[in-house]
Amino acid sequence: MPRWMAAHPHLSSRLLAWRNAYRYRPVRTLLAAILVFVALAVIAMLPPTGPILGWLGRNWAIAFVIAASIFTLSTARRRQHASIMTATSWLASLPAGSPPWMQVVSDMAGRLAGFVAFIVLMRLAGVIDGADFSRLAVATVAGALVGVLAGWRLPRADIGAPGFHSAIVRRTRARWASRPSLSPLGNWPAAQGRIFSRPRRMAPMLIIAMMAIPSGLHSAPGQVALAVAGVCMALFSVISLTAAAVRVAFGAARWLAPTTLGRWRFTVALGWRVELTQILALAVLLLLTGSIYPRGTVAVGVPLVALYLCASLVVVTAAAFEACRRAGLGACGRGS
């Protein structure tokens, strides 16, 4: 190991982790790299990509502000994380340690390299012309530098809240001890869904959705933009609930494996709140869109919602059954 790496164990441990990921899982790592490349190619081929990048190149001040905002938030968040990790990681007691600023700078440099590589690839693919490319690259780099400095100087927030702080403690059933019920199991995927759809995760999706709305002379009216944002948020929350139920199924089945609980009871207890919440949320969404576009809602919205609800039910049930099979819950005996 080179001397400079030995002097910065936080950095060297991360580099070694990356290298080990390739050594121990070469197929998966290569597959991930290929997927990223394919995703970039798809983005380059999408019709709006060229106009959006060109517009950002011509309006370089906006590109500068966007880059500065992204890097300000990222730096502030990374700085807080680095401070916590410096104090709590397994390397904290070592005499040689990387100061938090070095961890933040290395991380932000990696992200900036990613942004620049994306713009360069788009230029090489002919998606963006030379003049727009130069302006966009300079604005992005300058915005990133300003953002890193601003993010570093932002006042520190409270110590990062773990995920469960986003969830809500539900009211206790009065007869929890005298007549226990499985119904609180439904709170677990609901809480996980809230964590999946918390603002930090929803914000990037909203930005993409808002950028896709036409602007300029032929812009969409403000209320349409707001409606699109609202629908996106609702859909994101609904999809998050399905994803949460799938994820929770495996942890819950393993936790409850030593009990006599059956597969069907487990599936119903796990999924009832998720499905009910989704039905209510999508019904409200249909009512709201129906009040504006009644014909389109009935023709397109209702079948789509019904299809999604059925798909969600099937996915959650299949995940719960598979989780039961893997954990040995229900009738799945394990002793030979």
Partner: protein, 246 residues
């Protein structure tokens, strides 16, 4: 003797790694068996097989006479397992965990004995907080309470005293001893806490190289307790050294 756990010729492992290779074990009703062994000797693997979390490749397990494979429901109905604290659901409260577990075991109510133990553990103020906000010791208390729900005939605990404060550890030791002495249940405890084994358990088994390498009866444990400077620690170290030399 009324056996609550019978393990015969058990083989188990992970992928190609064989961890248990012909383990035989018995726990009788009214008996506390301590499972000892060095790190990575297979104690947790054995417990996971006993509670049905891991499928053995060969051998048989029966709980209260019910085979874990053929009569899984009946076998698990007689089982209480103290899961690893880190596997508890962070997004549920302690009260919700107790309620769900009781319902999953098909209990009509959570027994007063468990609620009283929660009081003795000073766990009651934590009941309505998320498990994710608990300390290691508090999670351990919840895991133990879950294991004791429903008066199980066989209580299986893995390092149950890890993280417990001395007062709570004493409460738990006495509680388990009183349950066992009243012949309510059998206890299988995997532990490194040799003082617990010497003072509270009836028998001890040493797991080495995938087999039970040495067993201490209650008389032998009493003799070790009575001999100054010759505790279980020395006897276990000698057994481990003998096994490596063999």
């Amino acid at each position: 003797m009324d056996e609550v756990l019978l393990v015969q010729s058990l083989q188990a492992g992970y992928d190609k790694l064989i961890v248990l290779n012909g383990v035989d074990l018995k726990v009788a009703r009214g008996e506390w068996l301590a499972l000892l062994g060095p790190n990575a000797s297979g104690k947790t693997t054995l417990l996971h097989c006993v509670v049905g979390l891991l499928a053995p490749s060969a051998g048989s397990i029966s709980i209260c006479g019910h085979g874990l494979r053929d009569e899984a429901k009946a076998a698990k109905g007689a089982l209480g397992f103290g899961c690893a604290p880190e596997s508890l659901p962070n997004l549920l409260t302690g009260r919700q965990c107790l309620e769900i577990y009781a319902a999953a075991k098909g209990l009509a109510a959570i027994g007063g004995e468990v609620l009283a133990l929660a009081e003795e553990f000073a766990f009651s103020p934590m009941l309505d907080r998320f498990v994710g906000s608990y300390s290691l010791g508090t999670k351990q208390k919840l895991a133990v309470l879950l294991a004791l729900l429903g008066e199980p005939a066989l209580v299986v605990l893995d390092e149950a005293f890890n993280g417990l404060d001395p007062a709570s550890a004493l409460v738990l030791k006495r509680h388990l001893r009183s349950r066992v002495s009243a012949r309510n249940c059998g206890v299988l405890l995997a532990t490194h806490a040799l003082d617990v084994v010497e003072r509270y358990s009836d028998r001890a088994s040493l797991l080495l190289n995938g087999r039970i390498a040495r067993e201490w009866s209650s008389e032998e444990l009493a003799a070790l307790r009575a001999t100054p400077g010759e505790g279980l620690e020395v006897a276990m170290a000698a057994a481990c050294a003998g096994s490596q030399g063999a």
